[in-house]
Symmetry: C2
Subunit: 344 residues, 2 copies
DNA sequence: ATGTAATATGTAAACGCTTACATTACCAGG
DNA sequence: CCTGGTAATGTAAGCGTTTACATATTACAT
């Protein structure tokens, strides 16, 4: 199939290229009859506008760049889904790139963004946010950050309200009557983790519940770290009655550790997580956790990015959106009798 | 940050645009001293080539299109990962699009591919492969199909050897001594499913094991269908001793049904799956299944696509690659005593 | 018919880069 | 000092659109 361009259509229709362009793009005025003729010819020739050329000329690509730290993860999957959907709705394409373990992350991102390939970028850097300011300042197109620390105030960001979610799920434990509540932390330098801990802590404080140092153990969001974290929490004389794992994967590790130790959930120890990954519904007992509206996160990011691109929002004015999280009450907190099984 | 183009560099360096281009692209001859000067200025001005313009001129975009039926699924996630990695290695970008439940699938795909936005496309259509021939024939750039039926012979495709995998896992059941083996099928029109059944059947035949009609129940690759499929298989007087679920999700449903009926796996009934999704390692007993090299699938697709783009492979010559699958022996077939738990 | 304002179309200049071809600079051998 | 060859650089023509501006056509009121 050979390529067909406007010139060919113009020739056949006996008009100039400009008229063809106007007819096809719908902008500008063209006599109805002429337009019809042009459209027919375009159809017949199976014409598709060359979006590269169009991009050059219009100085926009209708493409959004998405840079994520990784791809293989339920979180990112949902995120991409949300982003793609919203972009599709707005007739935009998605140029996807994972940052490949930050190998030369800054350089790659900049390269990416400044190449004129995209009209805007959705960027989720993991930890090291130090570069961010620089990236943003040197970038040539609007950027929306995902889950940026609250200290990043140089551009738009869409975030999850970790604090509120952690507060809620912790409070739920308290309402169950638990007073000895332990926590398995996420990575040190992780913003989400820090916020979750803040919410956890605040909920305890709000109810006058003490938090002994021994009830706080480190973790890193991996299943294994949850396993060991649980073991450490439960191997002391003073055992917690309930445990808040700062994410679901660690809760999963805790499940396994519990099973190893012959401890029943929630009878011997209640466990709650954070994230509401799919797995949390599949394991038994089902996991009480905090739902994070990931797809929504992606969609909102796209929406705001488009606003910036379309000039409805000022890219230079900082903007911060926090999406509320929702408590998902299942069995692991002790709420309902652990139903044997069910079709999910 | 204002945009800087070659003209500015040329002006500063006191040379022509052409020389700048040559210096920057590395092609063509430029005096070492001049090149150094130009590079320095480019650096200083923080110049990035405009890839759109470059694309227009060179008639290539260094971008690969990826069209998938969905995004949210472990399979696609891994696939995208493999594709992205390999593309990154070759300095290509990925333009991602899900086909949104085939809503006007053909049109979208064509639009996408023929817009000159990409140099080639990796396409995974789900069922209805009827359009494929047409899409391929009308396309303007090389295409690699993923998991295309063997009847599709109009272009390149990379596939998984479902037959061989099913044969292997079935044979494994036979070696366990099971003679009454049931199967829960995938969707009717699904190519993978058909191949898996063929392999299953062949393995039974090879060992002279009969397959009563009642041991074959329909399913559709969902967990729920696995649940009901299991129930149907086990609610007859003549019960199978082992069950081959054509994918892991259905095996998962079968697990739940078994638990409901108070049947132990593998003591009362062995279960094996296909796909080796992550979950298959997390459930207890761990699931014996067939590993599908998904990332590899993606990587291979990219590799061949690049060959076609670079003219090393003829896009018009059909090409078919089948990746072998691997048997993953875990607990659900009865192989090892069902260990209580372990850190995975 | 005629002038005026709208409407329809054409012309040509971008957009930022690559590249074939033309030109100039340079150097060695005669 | 000239000649020819090679290396370095310049010129300009694309690449396929969009779009500002110019021009041609039409419609309508007078």
């Amino acid at each position: 199939m050979k390529k067909v361009d406007m010139a060919q259509i113009a020739a056949r229709a006996g008009v100039s290229i400009a008229t063809v362009s106007r007819a096809l793009s719908g902008s500008g005025r063209v006599r109805a009859e002429t337009r019809r003729r042009i459209l027919a010819i375009a159809e017949e020739l199976n014409y598709r506008p060359n979006s590269i050329a169009r991009g050059l000329s219009r100085r926009r690509t209708d493409t959004l760049g998405v840079i994520l730290p990784e791809l293989v993860d339920e979180f990112f999957m949902d995120l991409v889904q949300g982003i793609e959907e919203e972009a599709y709705r707005a007739n935009r394409y998605i140029l996807l790139s994972s940052s490949h373990r930050q190998r030369d992350f800054l350089r790659t991102s900049l390269e990416f963004m400044m190449s004129g390939r995209v009209d805007g970028v959705i960027l989720m850097a993991s930890q090291r946010m130090n570069d961010i300011e620089e990236i943003v300042s040197r970038s040539r197109c609007p950027i929306v950050l995902l889950n940026a620390g609250s200290h990043v105030a140089c551009t738009a960001s869409v975030n999850v309200d970790n604090y509120q979610g952690a507060f809620a799920v912790t409070e739920h434990l308290v309402q169950h009557g638990y007073r000895k509540i332990g926590v398995i932390l996420g990575p040190d330098d992780n913003y989400d983790s820090a916020e979750r801990f803040r919410g956890f802590r605040a909920a305890l404080d709000a109810h006058g519940i003490p938090l002994p140092e021994s009830f706080v153990v480190a973790g890193d969001f991996t299943k294994t770290s949850g396993f060991y974290g649980f073991n450490r929490l439960m191997s002391q004389s003073q055992r917690p009655e309930a445990i808040f794992a700062e994410n679901d994967m660690m809760a999963l590790g805790a499940y396994e550790a519990a099973s190893r130790l012959g401890l029943r959930i929630p009878q011997d120890v209640a466990i709650v997580g954070f994230d509401d990954i799919r797995l949390s519904r599949y394991i038994r007992p089902t996991l009480t956790t905090v739902h994070v509206p990931i797809e929504e996160l992606g969609r909102r990011a796209v929406r705001y990015l488009l606003q910036m691109i379309d000039g409805e929002a000022d890219p230079h004015q900082p903007y911060r959106l926090e999406l509320t999280t929702g408590l998902i009450i299942r069995e692991s907190c002790g709420c309902s009798p652990s139903a044997p099984y069910g079709v999910v």
